[in-house]
């Protein structure tokens, strides 16, 4: 009897253990104050996980479970990003879950989703990535329909479930084809010259398509507006940022593997998805009256800008992508934080017109929203400008001139709908008679914090960018 057990180093997976334990423990909370306790516990767990990713266990980079997983510097960076997004999204959820008897379960499910994202980020094997995607997706299907009083919630949840199931099937089929071509489900199979390049290309195409669902890249974006609108605002905020970070981590891992026969189509595929996402997202966002739907289409467009980093991986594509993701998480979750503070129970049906006169009613909130909109539009002195600047520079350096031209054109288009929000807040009179919603202190504080961070990324961009650049060899 000779069984070769894998070497297991559980210290590497300590943050995930904490997340899982806390998520399970939250399910046992009962009583009148369970909701607040669950929020505090979940945020503490995510914060500890964030700290453990910032100050990692030294042996983590080497990997464990026979190299199925490993936390190299790039993985740690993306873990920090997902943790940041989840922390902010949980802080935005207090209002949504306060009146619900099962409100505490909400935070347990968010932690499960965060665990799934962690697995996606540090996995080095398509099978493990698939499990991470499912651990991420299943709680989100439930969370998207958490507000059962709203018809849109159930509709969005079912839509998300069906399309998500479809994308999971694509990913599995892609993994099977990849296995057929490479003889392994590990990412290492990419570097060897494949016996069947067409099979490998077909497998990778399906995998990339499935990841496209997660980053709402056109043509896989259809679910996003409906789901965001129906979901609680905190879940919409989480959906808009965290799965994107995890999926981009996987795409980087695939893209950074040695290119060869069967993978050479990937840059073009990503460039086409990037161009289509920028065009469709920005043009569709122009026509939205609903703030959350506008943010959903804006997220599609922003995903397109981030996708530009993948064809430019040989140059500065990966640090540009990571920097963009960081800024995107700050500004997009900031916009959602403002939406939560002014929604007052309206949730996803908040109209852009509802912000009218916000500058006179709540000047600080209006100013924060203006910062986020200016940053999303890509104007200085905010982080959004430098995110686009580094991204365009990286793409130009690799010769993707037409993509950059399209991106610049679409950025001009995006000015209309981002600045329209600012105009509505500052230049229209408050129609009066509308009750000023009772403030949401947690969301308000978060909005202030994120506005400062967005400005900080615009003031110290090169310092942050170089710090991120050191992560990628």
């Amino acid at each position: 009897m000779n069984i070769a057990l894998p070497e297991v180093d559980l210290a590497t997976l300590l943050p995930e253990g904490i997340l899982l334990t806390t998520a399970a423990a939250i399910l046992f909370l009962r009583g009148a104050r369970a909701n607040g306790t669950a929020l505090a516990a979940a945020m503490a767990a995510a914060a500890v996980s964030l700290l453990l990713s910032l100050f990692p266990y030294p042996g983590a980079a080497g990997g464990t479970f026979d190299g199925l997983v490993g936390k190299d510097a790039a993985a740690l960076l993306f873990l920090v990003l997902t943790d940041l997004a989840a922390l902010a999204a949980m802080a935005l959820s207090r209002q949504e879950t306060g009146g619900d008897e099962n409100g505490e379960t909400y935070y347990g499910l968010v932690l499960f989703a965060l665990l799934g994202m962690h697995v996606m980020v540090f996995a080095r094997d398509l099978l493990v990535i698939f499990l991470g995607m499912e651990i991420l997706a299943l709680p989100l299907y439930v969370l998207a329909g958490f507000d059962r009083g709203r018809k849109e919630g159930m509709e969005g949840s079912v839509k998300y479930f069906l399309l998500g199931g479809f994308s999971s099937a694509l990913f599995l089929l892609g993994t099977a084809l990849y296995y057929g071509a490479a003889g392994t489900t590990g990412m290492g199979g990419l570097s060897a010259s494949p016996a069947a390049p067409v099979l490998l290309a077909a497998g990778l195409a399906l995998v990339v398509a499935a990841l496209g669902f997660k980053i709402t890249a056109v043509p896989f974006h259809m679910w996003a507006p409906d789901v965001y609108e129906g979901a609680p605002l905190g879940v919409a905020a989480l959906l808009s940022a965290a799965p994107k970070a995890a999926a981009f981590a996987v795409l980087l891992r695939i893209g950074l593997a040695v290119p060869g026969a069967g993978t050479d189509f990937l840059p073009w595929a990503c460039a086409v998805m990037a161009g289509a996402s920028m065009a469709v997202g920005n043009l569709a966002a122009l026509r939205q009256e609903n703030l959350v739907r506008m943010l959903a289409y804006s997220g599609v467009a922003q995903g397109g800008y981030m996708l530009m980093g993948l064809p430019a991986l040989a140059g500065d594509g990966s640090p540009a992508l990571a920097f963009y993701l960081l800024v995107y998480i700050l500004m997009n979750l900031g916009a959602f934080a403002v939406a939560v503070t002014v929604a007052g129970g309206k949730g996803g049906s908040l109209k852009i017109g509802d912000l009218s006169g916000l500058a006179s009613r709540r000047p600080l909130v209006a100013f924060a929203m203006a910062v986020f909109m200016v940053s999303l539009a890509g104007l200085p002195p905010t982080g959004g400008f430098f995110a686009k600047f580094y991204m365009f520079k990286a793409a130009l350096g690799e010769g993707w001139l037409f993509l950059v031209l399209l991106a610049v054109g679409m950025t001009v288009v995006s000015l209309f709908y981002y600045l329209r929000v600012v105009a509505v807040m500052y230049m229209t009179e408050d129609k009066g008679g509308r009750a000023v919603p009772a403030g949401a202190p947690l969301a308000g504080g978060l909005a202030a914090l994120l506005a400062l961070a967005t400005l900080a990324t615009g003031i110290l961009p090169s310092w942050i960018f170089q710090g991120i650049g050191r992560v990628f060899p």
């Binding site: 008897e101 409100g103 499910l109 799934g116 099978l127 499990l131 499912e134 651990i135 709680p139 069947a196």
Partner: protein
Amino acid sequence: MMNTLLFWALAGTAAASALAVVVFRNPVNGVMALLVNLLATAGLYLLMGAPGIALFQVILYVGAVLVLFLFAVMVLDWKTGGPPFVVPLKPLTAGAAAVVLAGGGAAFLAGNRLFPRTGLPEGPPGPGPGIREIALDLFTRHLLVFELASVLLLAAAVGAVLIVRKERKRS
């Protein structure tokens, strides 16, 4: 010879039962036809020397998935009546077209040698891995995958309980 006979018998059963799934009007009959189809496919796996896959097919699909289907169908309270068979011409034509297209595409690809067969072993496959090898692989190389699957099931169970919860507001 015996193998060839068995293959054609099983393949014919599988194809006929697959058609039956589509044309039966009563969904319970459809599910039963699917049962026959899955068993025939399991038989094909056995013929190919993959008893493990055949076993999983029977346990997972016949044992678990089909029972779930039956539950769902019976809960749905279908109206019965009308002819026992429906022949959906349009889907059948579309299906036939798809088969022809896929077959043509496959033939084209094979003809172009885009799928070189160098990596594949010659001749019929030998006996595949048995249960022991699968178990060893599952608990050594795929230990993490195995554990993660349990996390996934826990998350799914929590989500399912949350979906069917009673609507009550804490006031």
